[in-house]
Symmetry: D2
Subunit: 333 residues, 4 copies
């Protein structure tokens, strides 16, 4: 524990860093510099996202203490020599830095506050980072409980990119002077680690980003579809939009029309990428936030309902850019 705190003290000597792409070179430098003192890191939740994230930590030299409700998913790690714990409480007993990556608010509550939850055994001074995308008010509740135990909680949901290649963006909420410590670990798994403010603000930032993403993706799909039906060439139209004020990430980096760009889900039958179900879930969180803060979100609400409908029309496992296909397809019954 002392070692770990010492380590974190060293890490906090890093310059405060927010909102800029960290040069890959310096990241490597930091990681090799701290290699000597690397203590085990807890990791709970080894699903589609958690699995490659955990592997990236291992690549950067961190020994892991792993846990997942489905013991099978831990096998692979056990065989590779990592330590598997019997419960979240067990992880908390063995590691003083823990990352959680869970599918819903309910799961986060269970893992932290449940009968065998982290809080049953958490050590004073531990750093608990929840990378799940959940309701910001739940993050705030968890932070309070964690604080009572003398530990530190940060929310650090992930946005965009591919977990495998470490090309993720973390949006981090929590006490500012612990940010460097969180960033040490998160920087091993993502190319961008952004400090967003107090606890819960990581969630809020991600929710706002993904709502805008959903809106501009559907907007791009509608605009491309309208243009194509009006006789325009899809590639030329994409080029024009991208040189003009309609330009957005969905049009220039992740175009939803098959054949316009290579290497994106739309050119691979909408396989891979970010599933429609996940987008519907995030838009549900945006809706909740908007209702509780009494913020009008007209397009955000309609976007939510569109992804909701797609989920019940067979698009749930396709990438969210498949909204182009959804709007366009003409079935004949």
């Amino acid at each position: 524990m002392a070692a770990s705190l010492g380590f974190r003290g060293a890490a906090s000597g890093l310059r405060y860093w927010s909102g800029r792409r960290r040069p890959v070179g310096s990241l490597a430098a930091v990681c090799s510099r701290s290699m000597a003192s690397k203590t085990p890191v807890g990791f709970i939740g080894l699903g589609n996202m958690g699995n490659p994230m955990a592997k990236n930590l291992i690549k950067h030299g961190y020994p892991l203490i792993l846990y997942d409700v489905f013991p099978d998913v831990c096998k692979e790690f056990k065989e590779a020599g990592e330590q598997v714990a019997s419960s979240p409480a067990d992880v908390a007993e063995k590691a003083d830095r823990i990352i959680t990556m869970l599918p819903s608010s309910m799961n986060s509550i269970e893992v932290y506050s449940g009968a065998n939850g982290i809080l049953k055994k958490v050590k004073k001074g531990s750093l608990l980072i929840d990378s799940s995308t959940i309701d910001p008010s739940v993050s705030k509740e968890l932070a309070k409980e964690v604080e009572k135990m003398g530990a530190v909680f940060m929310d650090a949901p992930v946005s965009g990119g591919a977990a495998r290649s470490g090309n993720l963006t973390f949006m981090v909420g929590g006490v500012e002077n612990e940010f460097a410590a969180a960033q040490e670990l998160l920087g091993c798994m993502g190319s961008n680690v952004l400090y967003c403010g107090a606890v819960g603000s990581g969630q809020s930032a991600k929710i706002c980003n993904n709502m805008l993403l959903a809106i501009s993706m559907i907007g791009t799909a509608e605009a491309m579809n309208l243009g194509i039906r009006s006789g325009l060439d899809p590639k030329l139209l994409a080029k024009i939009l991208n040189m003009s004020s309609g330009r957005c990430w969905s049009s220039d980096t992740y175009n939803p029309v098959p054949g316009v760009m290579d290497g994106v889900p739309s050119s691979n039958n909408y396989q891979g990428g970010f599933g429609t179900t996940l987008m519907a879930k995030d838009l549900g969180l945006a809706q909740d936030s908007a209702t509780s803060t009494k913020t009008p979100i007209l397009l955000g609400s309609v976007a939510h309902q569109i992804y909701r409908m797609m989920c019940s029309k067979g698009y749930s496992k396709k990438d969210f850019s498949s909204v182009f296909q959804y709007l366009r397809e003409e079935e004949t019954f």
Copy 2:
């Protein structure tokens, strides 16, 4: 006429150029190269957009033959030594390259096909460029009539930017081998001149772009508002969005939240820029196109209605980014 055609022949020696930003240097080069043979250019419609466009042509050395239904707006040009015509027909008699910049489909029809319209006196081989934003089907109709007279019609609506600084984008539809001739003139008024396809495709491209622009602007306003109400700092949130998948022209170049960026309408009480009424008009054209091509545009329709409501709530003359103010403001009655 022969001279003019000869000139256009020379111009067409320019390399075909579409979809890339033309270096300012080379533009100047082209313009000075052709200075010697510059014949007068007709210009009809000297409103908010037409006025600075005409001045940019003059700056590039083109003598103009001007016309506007309101004679007063021509005064300024007359005093500066330009020639003022008595009707569109009169312009067509004196110039074989004419640019029209008019507020609606009805105005374009009147100026071309009316009792004293261009078509009454148009010379064979003339190049008629309509920069008005109108219904693509009207552009196609006008093109047919112009073609019957042995002349060439192109639609070249303008998008974004400021007319005064010549920072406009022209989206051009028409016969491809006349594009270079159009580009010679349009390149004096805009930094981007994009070839979009057959007649009417300039309009279609602009309509698609502006629909996507409206959607992403409203989306940005909703996301920023939701974030701010959730406790995030506006500048930090903008930074995060711009590094993430929510990034779009409305978030990174024209942010609608006062104080986030300098030099944009949101930081100047939404003065200047692109008025809400004009956006509502363009979205009406998008709606018409969508209805006639049977294309579903859910977000495009809602965006249309939002700008429609803003027009009746006192926002008609404000920049279209004032949707942020519209969504946010809390009046107390």
Copy 3:
């Protein structure tokens, strides 16, 4: 002709009648009273709606002069002894009261103003009733042309109900003192004949009604679906809504949930009734009207887009209440 005008004079002796259900008894009385002087009535457009409407006129004792672009559909009438004309102009030569029932604005223009259109041979004093659902501005244009020929034009689109049983509502626009004459014929085909104001107002009233109908139908489908998913019994929920402020025609007369009511399309696999394509068309007209009058129609626009999407998802021939199925269905791909 004189006879016909005399007849119409007699008809106008009927009490002015608007907005109340005409007792079936008195309708029969009127019809038998005028039986003696019944002159032939022209009928153009014998499609799904026109066919049963024409038959109801025959039942009430009117000889018909028929025309349709597809000669086959006239056969049935010819065999029954009715007269078939060779063109709309031919109909106009032989009848001084003509009813048209056509699928679109373009068709109405063609039938009235085309090369062999009604206007080529229309007699002075003729009464021309267009029951097509078209753009009100087209109705007004046609009325002007008809008036120049000394004849009378009325728009009388049809709403709801079944054409076969004569259970239709006509919404009539035109000169008020000709309403009784129109009502004589329309009353044979529909149980409600409503005077709406000047020419075009029949179309406007129908467009408003059908937009509200679409909105409340989708609203009913959403509310029933939400209730059912929340555990409520569909029949009980319908009963509650119908006793409360959510009550509407779509909930109490045409409930979209299978099994809640008998004798409606939802209980017959959404066969029959009013097709999704037709509703999408009417909502397109509402959208056009709203855009040209600058009226915000948020829900109307979204309803339009929902029916537009349904058309491309295999619902085009189903009754418009199938929006319940569209919202509910969970396919597994």
Copy 4:
């Protein structure tokens, strides 16, 4: 207590009654019949709705034990001879039938489960009726806690009408064989008492009804506005809609256009009635239900956002039919 249960046993001799308007005569009969054995009824929450409801119970001969967080609002009742308690727990000690009427889920939780809440002193066999409009999942939670204490909980939110005149509709969820007991009291305050199913189903039914109400109200406002701008007479248009398939409670009973009907808020500058803020709140509950049951509610969501925007534009205290004014008004800044 025995007396009370005995009374409730007698009441349950009433015929099971759901979904039909109870004749006023028979209501009076029942009430006078049970007058002799009337034991005190607890009443917690004496706001805009609770106040007249409590008075109607008094009119029917029930002595009350009252409580409100704001002691002032109890004064009036105290002066009239009713008993005022010091806390919800105190009410529960003195009465075995309690009605609660509170503004939010949080308030209901506090009144039931708080430090001085009902559950601290509730007697076995007590009947607790919560007429607040809250999240159905909260109702279910409260029911579980109440059941543990050996008492009965029912949710009975109120819809439409005026509390003063007793013209309310109660939508009741809970154990069916206790419905008659609830109905005895609720029938004194409302003309309709509807059994909806298990606990929480009263809330669900109300939420569905009010969502459909909001949708059809906005739809009516849009249709009336579109018709008026198209030149139709408002009264005539309302008449036509009400005879046609657009007919709904909002068009025929509560028309939002000033001057069309007497005695409704639209003819009294939108004073009184059901406030925009309350409608926004109910639509927030509908949104929550839809998100948690994964039900698509496109129009419900847009309706929610419209009322959300109205709340920040000075309409919060106006009747919800003021959406007509909101859509129509043209301010000049």
